[in-house]
């Protein structure tokens, strides 16, 4: 699975939005804010905020290694474009995905159907937005793509030499999921 498509989409979104402020501040550099951008607490705070407000559940970060043992998994990707390029990636097994969609909609699901995929895409979208919103310069100079959602078995996500990567695992309701922020370009 490659991230180039969603990154291009995010760049296009940033351009299409006619964001004059973004154009004007392209001489800005986010490198001075890199410590703030890579602060793991920002990602934890974003996950807690999104899950508390939209699902009404508390999420706990899990520090140990977690394998998603279920055969089927769902991955949502939202690209970043602008002064930071990369992606926010959400990944979980079917159990967590179905629980999340159930909390969002008040409906019950037996499998990863289109509504579940839609809900997971939106969760990833809100996580990406909340995360970049923690750093004002990032919020103002970085656009988001629409979410892409992939489901299936036996696939891996590969990113070549990112500038930085945050990779966290979270638990809620006896289910777990992973959130990854990958930056492959920082101006």
């Amino acid at each position: 699975m490659q991230l180039y498509g969603v990154r291009r989409a995010a760049v296009a979104t940033a351009r299409y939005s006619g964001n004059k402020e973004m154009e004007r501040t392209m001489t800005l550099s986010l490198r001075e804010s890199v410590n703030l951008i890579t602060d793991p607490k920002n990602l934890d705070g974003s996950v807690e905020e999104v899950f508390q407000l939209m699902l009404g559940v508390n999420c706990q970060r899990y520090e140990g290694p977690v394998e998603i043992a279920e055969p089927e998994s769902v991955t949502a990707v939202v690209g970043f474009g602008g002064l930071l390029s990369g992606a926010c990636v959400f990944r979980s097994g079917a159990v967590a995905a179905v629980k999340i969609a159930a909390h969002m909609t008040g409906m019950e699901f037996d499998e990863i159907d289109d509504t579940v995929k839609d809900g997971i895409g939106e969760i990833c979208n809100m996580l990406a937005g909340a995360w970049k919103g923690k750093v004002p310069d990032l919020a103002a100079n970085c656009g988001l793509s629409v979410p892409a959602v992939i489901t299936g078995r036996d696939y891996n996500l590969h990113v070549q030499a990112p500038e930085f990567k945050l990779f966290h695992t979270y638990h809620f309701d006896d289910a777990s999921f992973e959130v990854m922020i990958i930056c492959d370009g920082l101006q």
Partner: protein
Amino acid sequence: MSEVRTLIVDDSSVMRKIVERSLRQAGLNPLVVFEAGSGVEGLELLKSQPVDLILSDINMPSMDGLEFLRQLRAQNLAPNVPVVMITTESSEEHVKQAILAGAQGYIRKPFTAEQVKERVLPLLTAA
């Protein structure tokens, strides 16, 4: 409160349901909801359905929420109907663009029903 006819524009059907639920929790009853999966669909729907309130996402494929809003104003569809943008984009510049395009309100995702109530009800009262 009399019937509130509301158009919700969002490419995510899940988000449309969440917005509808939040409006009901905010006390907008009776509520009649029209859903559109894109700005284009929203504009088409407004040609045949009068509404009292429009809530729109910004980041959507084919026609984004800001373009939807510009087209809405340019075509004089739903004049004087308050439009509230609901989006993950929350920088001052994004809010400014939405206001310039003709939005009366702005709600950042994730949101609570209380936030929806605070931002939407005054607009309906004013209208």
